[in-house]
């Protein structure tokens, strides 16, 4: 028998998509039964109270969570989000209901041993509810009380050899696509760069010293499965410089219908016979391809590596061999100044461990942003406020045409004083001799 009637939430148990309500209810039942005789360290009925407070929200159409207070573990400035219910008497099981962010492995591969270890900790010391995963990529342990924080941290680090993730004005937990582990498009080892940089910047991750949050994300190719250039202040997106490798026989096999185009992704509808000209050559954004009926050719100088042809014929076309990544800077969601996507800063950087080339760029940007950034200003906003030129300057990057989609359409050009003969000190008297008042 449930603690609260949840007639509205109950309606979310029907329908085919996995029901989070059913899942929370199953957790509530497990805890109530407590077959394993766990010594629950926070209220056993936390899941039930959570359903209760959520049902209340479904009635009020308003949230019942308050701003978090400052809670955390010793020596860290992030990783824990304080959260309190605004009706604690009604729902004591979730009156205090803090979140821990736990660093996920790059690419989010797990084994059951690790996950069960995590479940055991969270069974006993938390609500038994998680997010797999939070928006930034962390494992999110959803709901515990202040006194448990150090205990959980101790068990995570000692027993599971895993650390907390980031929150607040610091480096947030970096994230990578699965990269070379299972993708033929990956131009570099995204998981390794993510892991190494996460390790190298543990201090920046745990101890807030930035104007605002800062995110790294690592995509293996321009398909961008981990959304690096839309979601991270510093996006490393795999690319290559040389020719796309073409297997002409395989191209013909696609044309002949032997291979399924787009890796079978369109098999749910009859789109007709595969038309190489129409479906690939004509859709190339830089019109760099040619198909003469027996040979597909690509003018590499005009290729912008959009991935469409490779995605469409993965058995015939393969990324080039001179591989590395582009770096794009400044992506963020709307608050405050509007959304931004990452803007291309470095067109090509080689991606060999220990990634010093990449780290050099990161550290120059941090130095600048920590010096010039305003409180709660993302680096994209700093760029907007101080100019892209300033970003080039502080990262020692020469301006180049690939930095822009188009040149400026206003003639409001700043010149540096040293660029202008005579500089800015001028002789008014001499001017007035040439030009009477």
């Amino acid at each position: 028998m449930a603690k609260f009637a949840t007639p509205q939430l109950d309606q979310l148990e029907s329908g085919p998509w996995p029901s989070f309500v059913s899942d929370i209810k199953q957790e509530a039942a497990q805890r109530a039964a407590n077959a394993k005789n766990i010594e629950y360290q926070i209220p056993v009925d936390a899941p039930e109270d959570l359903l209760g407070v959520l049902e209340l929200s479904y009635n009020d159409k308003e949230t019942h969570w308050k701003h978090g207070g400052i809670v955390g573990v010793f020596g860290y400035g992030g990783g824990v989000i304080g959260r309190y219910c605004d009706q604690p008497e009604m729902f004591p099981g979730v009156a205090h209901f803090h979140t821990l962010r736990v660093a996920q492995p790059s690419g989010k591969y797990y084994n059951s041993t690790f996950l069960r270890g995590l479940c055991d900790i969270w069974d006993m010391r938390g609500s038994g509810l998680t997010n797999m995963h939070g928006s930034t990529g962390d494992i999110v342990l959803l709901g515990t009380q202040t006194v448990q924080l150090e205990e959980i941290f101790h068990e995570l680090t000692h027993n599971l050899k895993v650390d907390l993730g980031g929150s607040g004005s610091n480096l947030r937990t970096p994230e990578a696509c699965l990269g070379q582990s299972r993708c033929e498009y990956a131009c570099y080892n995204t998981q390794d760069m993510c892991y190494q940089l996460t390790m190298d910047y543990q201090d920046e991750l745990h101890r807030p010293a930035f104007p605002y949050k800062f995110k790294f994300k690592f995509d293996g190719c321009p398909n961008g499965c981990v959304c690096a250039m839309a979601r991270s202040d510093f996006a490393v997106v795999g690319t290559w410089k040389d020719d796309i490798k073409i297997d002409q026989e395989a191209v013909k096999a696609y044309v002949a219908g032997e291979f399924s185009p787009n890796a079978g992704a369109h098999s749910g509808r009859d789109w007709g016979k595969f038309d190489l000209q129409k479906e690939v050559v004509d859709l190339c954004p830089s019109q760099c391809m040619k198909w003469d009926g027996s040979k597909l050719s690509i003018r590499t100088a005009d290729c912008v590596r959009c991935m469409h042809c490779i995605n469409t014929m993965p058995r015939a076309l393969h990324i080039g061999d001179e591989r590395g990544a582009s770096i794009l800077v400044g992506a963020k969601a709307p608050v405050v100044d509007g959304a931004q996507m990452g803007s291309l800063l470095v067109p090509f950087v080689s991606c060999e461990a220990p990634y010093d080339d990449v780290k050099e760029v990161i550290e120059k940007i941090w130095d600048w942003w920590m010096e010039e950034g305003k409180n709660r200003e993302r680096v994209g906003e700093t760029m907007k406020r101080l100019s892209f030129q300033k970003l080039l300057e502080v990262t020692d990057t020469p301006a180049a045409a690939y930095h822009v989609k188009e040149p400026r359409s206003n003639p409001y050009i700043f010149f540096k004083e040293e660029e202008v003969p005579g500089g800015w000190d001028r002789d008014l008297a001499a001017y007035r001799k040439r030009h009477q008042r």
């Binding site: 996995p18 029901s19 041993t113 998680t130 709901g143 150090e150 299972r182 998981q191 543990q202």
Partner: protein, 381 residues
């Protein structure tokens, strides 16, 4: 319930303390077929919705079965995932960026048994626990935020509307009949945790009333200058008011400059903004993050407001479904929703979908708004 120590000694917090160890290393958890073929993959194919086959240079094949997951997930549910991984996959599994779960095996027979097992399991309430799908030109799992389940600033719930929408779109999670992949995301407020601003369809919780001012508490709970500087439209300013016969520092809000972003509330809890009858959801469409064919682009607001209708958000759900059906019927192969809308023109998008174009959809945020107006005589009557 007795307190059980982990071994941590609050009196000596540094004793034996382990810190700054980061995540577990990524390759600790690889299944054998992944470990053996790392960086040596040749090509892949989607064998059926939810089932991928990756072929390596070695000739090895990795069969992946993808299932949809609720982002909010109990340890009981995770343990069940572990059981399946133990049974079929040497205990290995992974999550995708979109909260799908993937199981990998190295044989086709293994894949089939695994797939059938996953598809067979249901919750007591009747929903699937592990529906196989979410690949190719179909609808993958929705990325979403916390909503009323855990967030302090939401304008709508997250898990609830996601469940309702995914129920309605379930067939397209299980199939691949769309012109291109369809990425849907939901953010419970305009902070937009998640790539909602660049999704084919983005659902965003919005407020529609200026914050209330809890004058009694403003100066006690808030750094007033931080709340003032948090406002993107300069609607918030410091003021002095008379309260209970005393002059106190507080905040004034120019209501006609406020567009309810809630950024001031984030900085100052004495400015509550959520409102049951005011809050709801805006629908944005046409964004993408991939560089494929066209450059990445932002989603655009095509429905300014839909009320919160718990528990199943029928208007929202119906509208999303309708947009997808019109897109599916009209777009070209490979054409993402935004590419389609741009090709036919946004006025045709509104005509075809029948969505009403209202003044809310015209940009009025700062200088760049101008660039979204139509500076041309090119338009369709």
């Amino acid at each position: 319930m007795a307190f059980i120590s982990s071994g941590y000694n609050p009196a000596k917090p540094m004793e034996g303390r382990i810190s700054d160890i980061g995540p577990r290393k990524y390759d600790e958890f690889f299944p054998p077929v992944i470990k053996n073929n790392f960086g040596k993959w040749l090509y892949h194919e989607i064998l059926e919705p939810g089932v991928l086959m990756h072929v390596a240079e070695s000739g090895d094949k990795c069969y992946t079965v993808r299932v949809g997951g609720t982002r909010t997930m109990s340890v009981t549910h995770i343990r069940e995932l572990c059981d399946i991984a133990d049974k079929f996959c040497n205990g290995c599994l992974r999550w995708t960026t979109r909260s799908n779960i993937e199981f990998m095996v190295d044989s086709e027979e293994g894949m089939k048994a695994l797939r059938d097992e996953l598809n067979s399991r249901t919750f007591d309430g009747g929903s699937f626990k592990f529906p196989v799908g979410g690949t190719g030109a179909g609808i993958s799992n929705m990325v979403h935020t916390q909503g009323w389940i855990h967030c302090h600033t939401p304008a709508t719930d997250a898990s609830g509307p996601v469940k309702a929408v995914m129920d309605a779109l379930f067939d397209d999670f299980k199939s691949m009949r769309l012109p291109a992949p369809m990425r849907i995301a939901l953010a419970c407020c305009i902070n937009m945790c998640g790539a909602v601003h660049c999704s084919d369809i983005g659902l965003v919780g919005i407020h529609r009333k200026p914050p209330m001012i809890d004058h009694e508490w403003t100066d006690q709970l808030c750094e007033i200058p931080l709340a003032v500087s948090a406002c993107p439209t300069a609607a918030v300013r410091p003021t002095k008011i008379e309260h209970d016969g005393k002059k106190i520092n507080s905040i004034a809000i120019k209501e006609d400059r406020c567009m309810y972003c809630g950024n001031c509330y984030t900085m100052c809890p004495a400015l509550p903004i959520s409102d049951g009858e005011g809050d709801g959801v805006a629908i944005m469409v046409g964004g993408k993050v991939s560089n494929r064919i066209s450059m990445p682009k932002f989603s655009k607001v095509v429905v300014g407001y839909i009320p919160n209708e718990p528990p199943r958000w029928p208007t929202l759900t119906k509208t999303v479904k309708h947009i997808i059906e019109v897109y599916a019927a009209n777009a070209n192969k490979y054409e993402r929703l935004g590419d389609w809308a741009e090709r036919i023109g946004w006025e045709s998008f509104f005509k075809l979908t029948g969505l009403e174009f209202t003044h809310h959809l015209i940009d009025d945020f700062r200088d760049p708004a101008y660039y979204t107006w139509r500076q041309s005589t090119q338009f369709k009557f």
